[in-house]
Structures are given as structure tokens and as C-alpha cells.
């Protein structure tokens, strides 16, 4: 569904049409799940936070203004859920369960075992560096690079100026690029040695 159609569905939901929820849920669930997985590094935790996000969207549906855009609105709520979870988690130590594999997807575009291994290693590196980044840089980078948000929308979601958001995303990019360059150098060195 295109963005205007999704906005119209949210508009109907804000006016009390409960049947529009299925449309919104179907369209937003994969995006919010991916966003929260990137933010938390854990698909299991992300699933819990996605449920909380939809509940908060339901509670706050009346605040969705006519003519507004549902994507930045929903991402802003998901970010709030993530922030609140982070605050409450500070008091308790959380660990990944053995059954939670984390975000280590396979790359379906890989054509052979070597390239699959390199892609998986790159993905793990990105995941590791993202987790190490300051949260402000991580969320700016994730929103712009992976969620396809404009700088203006990301700034509105994060409650920051567009310049600040650009700078945060750029710093995250620099950190990731440096790590990936090092990884590529190691891979090249290993293949040259062999």
C-alpha cells in the first residue's frame, strides 16, 4: 500500500473505524519490527516492543491529526517505547536467551559459501558497531539509512534539528565505514595469503 493510502487508513482509525487497524498493522508491523530489531539487536525483544507500540498507537490514535503522515508518527511512538524500555532496563540486567539468535540473517543474494560468509561477517560487524554506537547516533542512522526517512522526518521523530540529525547519522556512518574497511582489509589479506 502507498503512503497516502496508509495515512487514509490511520485517519479512519483515528475517527473510530476499528476495521482500519488490520490495514495499519499489516503495513507497519514489518517496518516497526525491523526498526526495533535494529535498535535493540534482539528480534525477541523487538517483537515485545512492537506489541507495546501498537497498543500505544491505539491509545494515542486521537492525537493523529487529519492530513498527517502515519510513518513518522508511528516511528516516533516506537522510539518512545524503546526509550522507555531502556530506562526501565537500566535497573535490571538483561541477557539474550539462548533461544534468541539475535539479528544474524542469512543473505539470500550470496551465491557461494565464501561470499555468504563474508556477508554474514559484515552483517555481524554492522550489528556489533551499531550496538556500540551512542543511541542518538544509532537511531539517526537507522531511521535514515534503513527506514528510508527523510532528514526532516527523522528530525521530527527524534526531537532534534535536521543538522544535528545529519551530523549524528554521519558520525555513525564514519564509525561503520571504518570497521567495514578494516574487515574488508582482513578478508583481502586472508584471500591473498591463501
Amino acid at each position: 500500500m502507498d503512503e497516502p493510502g496508509l495515512n487514509a487508513a490511520m485517519d479512519r482509525y483515528a475517527c473510530g473505524d476499528a476495521s482500519a487497524f488490520a490495514v495499519i498493522h499489516g503495513e507497519l508491523l514489518p517496518r516497526l519490527r525491523a526498526f526495533l530489531t535494529r535498535m535493540t539487536g534482539s528480534p525477541t525483544l523487538a517483537d515485545d516492543l512492537v506489541q507495546e507500540t501498537f497498543l500505544r498507537m491505539h491509545r494515542a490514535r486521537a492525537t493523529f491529526v487529519a492530513g498527517g503522515a502515519v510513518l513518522p508518527w508511528a516511528y516516533a511512538i516506537a522510539r518512545n517505547v524503546h526509550l522507555d524500555h531502556g530506562r526501565s532496563a537500566r535497573l535490571r540486567k538483561t541477557e539474550r536467551l539462548p533461544s534468541d539468535p539475535g539479528a544474524e540473517p542469512e543473505d539470500p543474494s550470496a551465491t557461494d559459501a565464501e561470499s555468504a560468509a563474508i556477508a554474514a561477517q559484515a552483517a555481524r560487524t554492522v550489528e556489533r558497531v551499531l550496538a556500540r554506537l551512542p543511541p542518538q547516533q544509532r537511531e539517526a542512522f537507522v531511521l535514515i539509512r534503513y527506514e528510508g526517512m527523510s532528514v526532516q522526518d527523522a528530525a521530527a521523530i527524534l526531537g532534534a534539528t535536521p543538522t544535528a540529525v545529519k551530523l549524528r547519522a554521519f558520525r555513525a556512518y564514519e564509525a561503520l565505514r571504518a570497521e567495514l574497511a578494516e574487515l574488508r582489509g582482513q578478508s583481502k589479506g586472508a584471500s591473498d595469503g591463501a
Binding site: H58, G68, P72, W73, V126, R145, Q152, P162, K166
Partner: protein, 225 residues
């Protein structure tokens, strides 16, 4: 070397670690928990606004209007009222995409409101006779202004809990400052002690600061949707 912030296309170099096929999306129904619709919320906001205005008007009239309510003084009160309406609109305006105005604008409004109050209070105090800054003169006006502003503040904090998806502390801080300004206007319409800057800015104007801080704190704690 300073980064080139004009072009973020280079960000596409970084691979996406969560690119695997997403699990199927299950069928979903709306949560059973009741939540207000847009029309119900609009009705609540109108009722809240009317109640807040009634509170300010009732307390101001009950304590009595000052005898020297000249056109010049009415102009000052009118300017403050216009400023309150503008600040209210800035706090509630959702922006073009329905999330929030820029934080820089909200911050400017939050600082601009007390600045505007102080400048107008200074301008209107030029020829005013001094008022001794004693606890007796300060406490009465401060209590009255805070009392008048407290009603709208409590209504706003109740109505706007979990109401803002972004920039909640800034927007609730601005709303709190507007409620404080309502108390200041009510007190200024009543106070027979005169227009001295020290008295007006401290005894009448302090609720703006109190309301702003209360709104900021509530926004951090309970403001985010």
C-alpha cells in the same frame, strides 16, 4: 576535516544486517481497550479550555479588578493574552507531517514567552512609582498568580498526558508557561500595588517559570505517547 553534510547518499554503503525475509504478518484486530477517537478528544480539549478560562475569570473577578484599569494597562493585558494564544498554537501545532514543530522553534517559543513578558513589563513600568519588594507585597501577589495559573496547569497536564509523540517536554513546557502566564494576567488585572518592574516581574511573573518547569518535568515523565 569537517564532514560534508549535504550529501548523505554515502550512507547506502553500509549493509543492512536485518535484511532477512520477515516472518509473515499475522491477522490483527484492534485492541479491545477503549481509547478516545479524534472527535472525543476534540470535545475534551474544548471542555478543558472552557474550564480553564472560567477558572481564571472566576478567580480574577472574585478578588476584584484593580481601580486603575486604564486603556494602557488593558493594552498590556491584551498583548500578554495574544502572546499566550500564539504560544498555545505553537505548542499544539503538529507540523506539516503531523509529528511536531522543529525543536528549535519550540525552544525559541519557550524562551521567547518569558522574554516577551519581561520586555513588556519593563516598558509599562517606565513611569511607575516603586513598590517596596517586601515579603508582604510579594507573597500575596505570588500566591494569587500561582493560584490562578494552577487550575489551567492541572487541566493541561491531565489532558495532555501521553499526548505528544515527539518533543513532549518542550511542548508541555510551553503549555505550562502559558498556564503560568494566565495566572500572571489574572493577577495583573487585580493587583492594586502598581506597575513597578521588580514587583511585576517577580511577584506576578514567577508562575510562568513555575508552569514552564512543571510542564517540562511532566513532559519527561508522562508526556510521550
Amino acid at each position: 576535516m569537517a564532514p560534508d553534510l549535504g550529501d548523505l547518499a554515502a550512507l547506502a554503503d553500509i549493509p543492512d544486517p536485518v535484511r532477512a525475509a520477515a516472518p509473515p504478518v499475522p491477522e490483527a484486530v484492534a485492541p479491545a481497550e477503549p481509547s478516545p477517537t479524534r472527535a472525543q478528544r476534540r470535545r475534551r480539549l474544548i471542555i478543558g479550555l472552557v474550564l480553564a478560562l472560567c477558572w481564571v475569570a472566576a478567580l480574577t473577578l472574585k478578588t476584584g479588578l484593580r481601580p486603575d484599569l486604564t486603556p494602557s494597562l488593558l493594552l498590556e493585558l491584551g498583548l500578554w493574552s495574544v502572546m499566550a494564544v500564539v504560544a498555545l498554537a505553537v505548542a499544539l501545532y503538529p507540523g506539516q507531517r503531523g509529528v511536531s514543530l522543529r525543536v528549535s522553534l519550540l525552544g525559541a517559543a519557550l524562551l521567547g514567552l518569558p522574554a516577551f513578558f519581561l520586555i513588556t513589563a519593563l516598558a509599562w513600568s517606565m513611569d511607575a512609582p516603586p513598590v517596596p519588594l517586601t515579603l508582604a507585597t510579594w507573597r500575596g501577589c505570588m500566591s494569587l498568580a500561582t493560584g490562578i495559573g494552577l487550575g489551567p496547569l492541572l487541566i493541561a497536564l491531565y489532558l495532555f498526558r501521553h499526548a505528544f509523540v515527539a518533543a513532549a517536554p518542550w511542548r508541555l513546557g510551553l503549555l505550562g508557561a502559558v498556564c503560568g502566564l494566565a495566572g500572571t494576567i489574572g493577577c495583573q488585572a487585580h493587583c492594586p500595588l502598581g506597575q513597578a518592574f521588580s514587583h511585576v516581574s517577580l511577584a506576578h511573573g514567577l508562575p510562568i517559570l513555575i508552569g514552564g518547569i512543571a510542564g517540562l518535568a511532566w513532559g519527561h515523565w508522562r508526556g510521550r505517547a
